[in-house]
Amino acid sequence: MRDEPSSGRGRDIVAILALLGLFLFASPFTGWWAQAAFPWYFPFVLWGLLIALVAITQILGHGFED
């Protein structure tokens, strides 16, 4: 019988990424980086990192299991 991919793996990755997104942009950490005198482009760097992680997981075939 065919070996199915792990049932919750994709969902787990999505959940972890969502939590990371919330941590970066909707948690006390957001207040910290807003007050830490970072360069003007710092929010874009965080945003870009999050996008890169999503891109890597999608390109590796995780997340979407259909």
Binding site: F25, A26, T30, F44, A55, Q58, G63, D66
Partner: protein, 988 residues
Amino acid sequence: MKIELWQLLLTVVAYLGVLFLVAYAAERGLIGRRVLEHPLVYVLSLGVYATSWTYYGSVGLAAKSGYTFLTIYLGVTLAFLMAPILLNPILRLVREYQLTSLADLLAFRFRNPLTGFLVTVFMLIGILPYISLQIQAVVESIEVLTGDARTGILAPAFCVTLTVFAILFGARHITPREKHEGLVAAIAFESAVKLIALLAVGAFAVFGVFGGFGAMQGWLDANPEALDRLYRPVSEGPWVTLLLLAFCAAFLLPRQFHMIFVENLNAGALRHAAWMFPLFLLLLNLPIVPVLWAGNALQLGMSPDFYVLGITLDTENGLWLLTFIGGVSAASAMMIVTSLALASMALNHIILPIRFLSGDAQDNLYRWILWGKRALIAAIVAGGYGFFHVIDNNEGLVHLGLISFVAVAQLLPGVLALLLWRRANSAGFILGLLGGALVWFGVLITPLLINSDILTRDVDLTALFHQGATSIWTVATFWSLAANTCLLVLGSLLTRSGDEEREAAEACSERGLTPLRGQVTDGSPKQFEKQLARVIGPAAAEHEVGRALDELQMERSEQRPAELRLLRDRIERNLSGMLGPALAQMIVDNRLRLRERSHTALADSIRYMEERLKDSHSRMRGVVAELDNLRRYHRQVLYELPLGVCALGPASEIIIWNLAMQIISGIDERAAVGKSLHALPSPWFEFLEDFVRSTDTHRYKQTLQTGELQRSINLHKAEIDMPDIGQQAETGGQVIIVEDRSELETLETSLAHSERLASIGRLAAGVAHEIGNPLTGITSIAQNLRHETDTGGVRQSADDVLIQTDRINDIVRTLLTFSHAERIGAEAYQQTPLRHSIEEAVQLVGLSDAGNQIDWRIDCDAELTVEGDHQRLVQMFVNLLSNACDASAPGDPVEVACSHDMLHVTIRVIDKGSGVPEPLRERIFEPFFTTKSVGRGTGLGLPLVHGIVRDHHGDISVKSSSRGTEFVIRLPVPESLANVDTSAAGAA
């Protein structure tokens, strides 16, 4: 630089014309399907999210609230990040059930005529501020460029132009499904234009205004409060609220829902959009901060909302024109897609239900829908203009956009309940939506109306909710969503869902799998057409039934109950794509009625569930997936079982008709499954029906005449215990095993025949042996008598006796030869030249009078040999040539031709005689069968030839007609010859 109004208007029209050409090229196939379905095009088409608000308003919001402007895009990033669990299930539902808007989706799940109506009305009201924002942005951008505030005609002119183009893009002709390749291409083009324009403005801000990143950093060092103004609102402003609103807007705004789900040309593209669309938004936002600082540095005397345009005003390189076009792109894309999406919702949930409820059959439904949609597009754009005209907005572009964002956020509880909570029902959803909408109106719309002197300050409810320094957006979002969610939960818990709503909840759940209920009362597609024609008109009824039949690959003559049930389901889905799910369901329920209690429901259910399981397999996970694999394995075992299997339901409807059954009966699975046993063609119906009705559980060696073929069949049957699949019936039916033993019987007959032949051979050998001894005595006595007498008469008699004994001796020897008493072992075979054997046989046959008069022709290479026994080969040829000689007239030719290939030496013995009649041809190799007159043939010649050929590992066949007979003997090619051939081939 003086820019004239007419120049800008001309630019707008020319740009929209270019857009139309792009759309036209896509629709005409000039842009390849692969390009249109490319994930990049899909992602760019989602760029409709970035409107004038993003293009102009982001700088204004950045000036006012710093980095808070990023929440509008970070929220979208979070929504797309969760695409596999949030957007993908919605896409599946939209595609599977042909839903064309968010109102369709919610009306499909929350089965109540009010659901779609309320969602549509609320969206129409909620989105009007957003449309007016676009009009305001374009009008103000033109005022900035021309420096002329007397642009009263501008807004209506822009609205009329947009209406015309929206109709051209999305309502030029009726389409069975809401898929407009042209629209997707045009919106993607627009997104590319606005991205390029904004990046160009950003580059100009950094390099043109500041002179590079270093200089910009220098300006920043000199103005440290600029950076502080960006970062401070992150921790002080309504950051999380706006993040949540943008999360909702990402897929709930009508234009976003339309482009993400309805116009999706390639379902797989959503996977790429999960990161490519946030990347697009990031690139779009990178220039915002440099543009803001460039505007500040230049001390532009205008609202920061228009800094994007303002910093380019004095450029000589035409950047202002590109910037203006980018702004028009942003506004027009939003207005076109929004008006199309809202028009579709309004048509399906307001106009069409009213029209159909009035009871008029539509003579030309498609034409009516087309014109209805066009009128609605015009009305929606006009509504946006009306809002722009009446409402006095001095809060900036973003204010209007956020009002719409809070409105669409009211649909979030419903959508989450749709995906996650099966207990949720229409009562809860409607109550929640009304509650949320009321708070939204009270907190956000009322102040606008009061400011515009439409309402008095007596009705201002804001104070009830808005206290202290909390942002108005946080207050409005919190209270509206709290009221909405609480009412949804309470309403759902306090009321019960109907059957249809429970089925819809199952359909929306990935775990759901409900069998189709009931059987359609109408018995054919023709009757379907007749019934539907009363509501949607004859032409549309014929077209829709035809389309559903084509999609299901069914014939117009289809009458199987299970297939008709599937056809009804497909028609409902197709109508849903055109009229919305609520109306489609109403029409189908009223016109194509179901018999709830039906015995064939078992077959329907099993087949429907098998279809659903097949479709759903890719979505199964864990134990469910393993169980389905097991089911498929057992199903396949049953299908490929080398015994015919026919499973019957309680009402004798055929449920399983496996591969062996198809081969035995010659009846295809599609023609049998789902039909009653009575529908099987004769003689299978009578044959199986008789067995099903009998009390026998086994029947052996039953004869069945099918065409010219007579079959021998064993039958076995067993009762099936009713499986628990949600149906009520007394019995689960029967399973019949059909064992075709026709071939086995042929084999048995052949074996018996061989056994008889072997007995004859043994008998013949015994008889020959017993006759041999007395015959030797008779021959000796006759010879003695011949020598001892001088009497002529006696001598003559002795000679006659000797002739007759010779004849008996010949027969005895032949009998012994036939019984293989003289067989030589294959180990004694040697290379035998064929021509030599043939010539010797011709010489022997030519000794007779008849043989002497035959024209013998030998075409055989002297070098050609076979592995064999020379004497027996001569005997074979003598028998064949004697027969040929007997069949030929004097002077006729008899030809012996030899040839060979890699595997065989082929010998043909051809005569021009009278031939062997067709009925006798199969029997000529049987012993003692002869066509010659009594005394002339023993009937052992050709059986002897057959035996010799077989002993030489060859085969013999005969072709005969009235013009002659041809015996073809194939013997294995000797190894030496095969080697020669192989080496010759290798050399070649």
